[in-house]
């Protein structure tokens, strides 16, 4: 019983990272159908923002400054990418995938040339050191912070989609672009804003991954496949789906890892997702769109 509870907690902790990495994609890929392979590099940008902020403000408050800064900078990169490249290819999702992969290559190299190939150190703030006992498991405060942040982000995003006029515009554009356009919604503006938020959230995810792992030019690549899987498994266009998928995958990983090894757990989780999508390609939840796609 102890093991079940402790692995449950571990799984939620793993899942919260997965969800943070994937939540931005749930917007850009899930809502807009854009496969942005550079999303991983936006996460990387967020991580380096945390590193630069640490240099400016010192470890401690830098984390608090870094989160909005990374959101803004990630968002700006996202809008630039959307404006320059992606908007010309909305009708060619597979080409977007390759072109943004090219963007990712370039961004990685830029990071390498600016910060060097080796990992840089982002120290955890003192007020997040140590751990707390939950259900018989020691959970580091950093993990609790990440979980709290992810809850905040999901709640904020859900509220935005449900209650604001921006959310209504986004949903209308997803459901039927032409009808939205004729109803007077500026779909260009909506696209750009959606992309800004999605990419900004990748930046925020980048700040949080510095709390648990290394900060190097290639960190984006270690999250991108998982992040896409979470969105696909959760069901396109549903934030709820991404949340459930991320935590399920995290918990699954934690339980398998407990009885086998991390490598085998990773393999089994991936195969389970692929098998699941063979049976239910639309993911956990699906959106009925009124466009013939």
């Amino acid at each position: 019983m102890d093991v079940v509870l402790s692995q449950l907690v571990a799984g939620i902790s793993v899942g919260s990272i997965l969800l943070l990495a994937a939540i931005g994609l749930a917007l850009t890929f899930g809502q807009m159908g854009v496969i942005n392979m550079a999303h991983g590099e936006f996460i990387m940008i967020g991580a380096y923002v945390a590193f630069v902020m640490q240099g400016l403000f010192g470890s401690g408050i830098s984390l608090i400054v870094a989160i909005p800064a990374a959101f803004l900078i990630g968002g700006i990169f996202g809008v630039l990418l959307e404006q320059i490249l992606i908007r010309h290819m909305y009708h060619r999702p597979l080409d977007t995938l390759l072109a943004t992969f090219g963007v990712g290559l370039i961004l990685q190299q830029v990071a390498r040339d600016i910060f060097g190939a080796p990992a840089v150190e982002v120290a955890n703030p003192a007020w997040l050191s140590g751990s707390v006992q939950i259900l018989g498991t020691n959970v580091p405060w950093t993990r609790i912070f990440i979980l709290a942040l992810v809850i905040l982000v999901v709640a904020g995003l859900s509220a935005l989609m449900a209650y604001t006029s921006l959310g209504r515009r986004i949903r209308a554009t997803v459901l039927n672009r032409k009808l939205a356009e004729t109803s007077g919604i500026s779909t260009r503006w909506t696209d750009r804003t959606t992309f800004f938020i999605g990419s900004g959230l990748a930046g925020v995810a980048g700040v949080t991954v510095t709390l648990i792992g290394a900060t190097s030019p290639t960190i984006g690549t270690s999250y991108i496949v998982d992040a896409f899987l979470v969105v696909v498994a959760g069901g396109i266009g549903k934030i709820k789906g991404a949340v459930i998928a991320a935590f399920s995958l995290g918990i699954l990983q934690a339980f398998i890892e407990y009885s086998t090894t991390a490598s085998i757990a990773k393999f089994i989780v991936l195969i389970v997702v692929v098998a699941f999508l063979q049976i239910r390609p639309q993911g956990l939840f699906s959106v009925r769109t009124r466009s013939l796609a």
Partner: protein
């Protein structure tokens, strides 16, 4: 389908058939034939001019660039120093540099290029075991000379490779002895990345611990580059082992130590002995995360020898005051000087002649004098246990005796009755057979 296409299709079939017959008639030696197998190409090393070509092969791009560019830097420095002192046998060293791109296949292809196109006298480099094993057939097939600088998992002795880094009995076993004698451990937890070095190291540790009555409480592997240690750190913490033996590679260490520290563990309570963290890596992991933890190497930047002082000074002058030197860098530095000494001794750049004089060649290295063992082509090393300090450097706190290389652990009784030892004997016989063939 038109008559015309059918016709052309027939023609195509005919052409293919003809090509096939041609191919089959033009076949060469069967495998296992003497002339087919060991027919090493005649050396094409050019000694007519004032210069002699040597090759550097390091990953300048890809995931391993982090580590291997430092080796590349230090190799260039060594070559410059040798050239300033008049070169080797009066020849100036001319460097041909190749990028291994962190991919074994590239290492294989590029080393082939160095040996057969550039006709270099010797090649220096390689880091991962995968890259070394990929290059091995190329060097054996062309009778080339590779100087491999990294500490590694042992169980190998090729006639065409000189191993200037530590083998297991110069790094892993001293680390275990230290833990047993100085830390008085009774139990261990093994954590490693999923590749050959950690797996072999942990196999040796298991055999050792059986002999010495140390209990292994867990053995975990994570995929290379893995960043989630929630489960593993929890298991480590709840195992209450006396120490952790860490063979994690690269960035995974950051995630591991982050999780380890935030669970409230520390070096006093459960020390971590790492064998892949050197000065260069400490920087990225953060000295504050590592302070007080143990490492096992043969060289540290802080060593107090005149040779090391000179080495560190020269390196920082060339590449910047903020740069650090590490064990593998030092071993690569040594390897170039060892090769130069062998060539001077042999009076030739010929691979066979160099091999003949290799035994006993020594160099006053920053880590102390290292001597080549002609049989295994490894070098003698002094094992040292270090403690990571708050500045990110490592202070040696324990020093073993100068240790002869024993890549197959023949001299350790506890490793004897195992299948690994059998394999070792076989492999060594093979190596001897090869030597006799020549």
């Amino acid at each position: 389908m038109s008559e015309k296409t059918r016709h052309s299709r027939l023609k195509a079939y005919a052409a293919l058939g003809a090509a096939g017959t041609l191919l089959l008639s033009a076949c060469g030696a069967r495998a296992g034939d003497d002339d087919g197998n060991g027919a090493a190409a005649e050396s094409c090393v050019d000694t007519d001019g004032d210069t002699i070509k040597i090759g550097f092969i390091n990953s300048l791009s890809g995931t391993m660039a982090i580590s291997e560019t430092t080796v590349n830097d230090v190799l260039h420095m060594a070559a410059d120093q040798i050239n300033e002192d008049g070169g080797v046998l009066g020849y100036e060293l001319e460097i041909v540099e190749e990028d291994g791109q962190s991919e074994p296949a590239t290492f294989s292809e590029r080393s082939d290029y160095l040996l057969t196109q550039e006709c270099v006298a010797a090649v220096f480099g390689g880091w991962t075991s995968a890259s070394r094993q990929a290059m091995l057939p190329v060097f054996e097939g062309n009778n080339g000379l590779l100087f491999y600088p990294t500490q590694y998992e042992g169980l190998e002795a090729s006639d065409n490779v000189f191993y200037s880094g530590a083998t297991t009995n110069q790094q892993i076993i001293p680390a275990l002895d230290y833990l047993l004698e100085e830390e008085e451990i009774e139990s261990l937890y093994l954590v490693g990345s999923d590749y050959v070095f950690p797996r072999t190291a942990n196999m040796i540790i298991r055999q050792w611990s059986e002999e010495h009555g140390v209990e292994i409480l867990g053995e975990d592997y994570t995929p290379l580059g893995s960043t989630d240690f929630t489960t593993i750190a929890n298991q480590v913490a709840s195992s209450e082992a006396d120490a952790v033996f860490n063979t994690l590679n690269g960035d995974s260490n950051v995630a591991f130590f982050n999780q380890y520290n935030s669970l409230g563990l520390d070096a006093d309570e459960m020390p971590v002995m790492s064998v892949s963290i050197a000065e260069e890596e400490v920087d990225g992991i953060g000295a504050s995360n590592l302070e007080g933890q143990l490492t096992s190497w043969n060289y540290y930047q802080t060593l107090d020898t005149p040779e090391n002082e000179e080495f560190v000074e020269a390196f920082q002058e060339a590449y910047g005051e903020d740069r650090v030197t590490s064990d593998v860098m030092q071993s690569s530095y040594n390897s170039l000087f060892l090769w130069a000494a062998m060539a001077e001794e042999a009076g030739s750049f010929d691979v066979d002649e160099i091999r003949d004089v290799a035994d006993g060649t020594s160099f006053d290295a920053p880590e102390g004098t290292v001597t080549v063992d002609g049989e295994t082509q490894h070098v003698t090393k002094t094992p040292r246990i270090g403690v990571i300090n708050s500045e990110g450097l490592i202070d040696a706190v324990w020093e073993g005796e100068l240790t002869e290389p024993d890549p197959f652990l023949d001299t350790y009784e506890w490793a004897d009755d195992d299948e690994a030892a059998e394999f070792a004997e076989e492999a060594e016989e093979d190596a001897d057979d090869d030597a006799e063939d020549e």
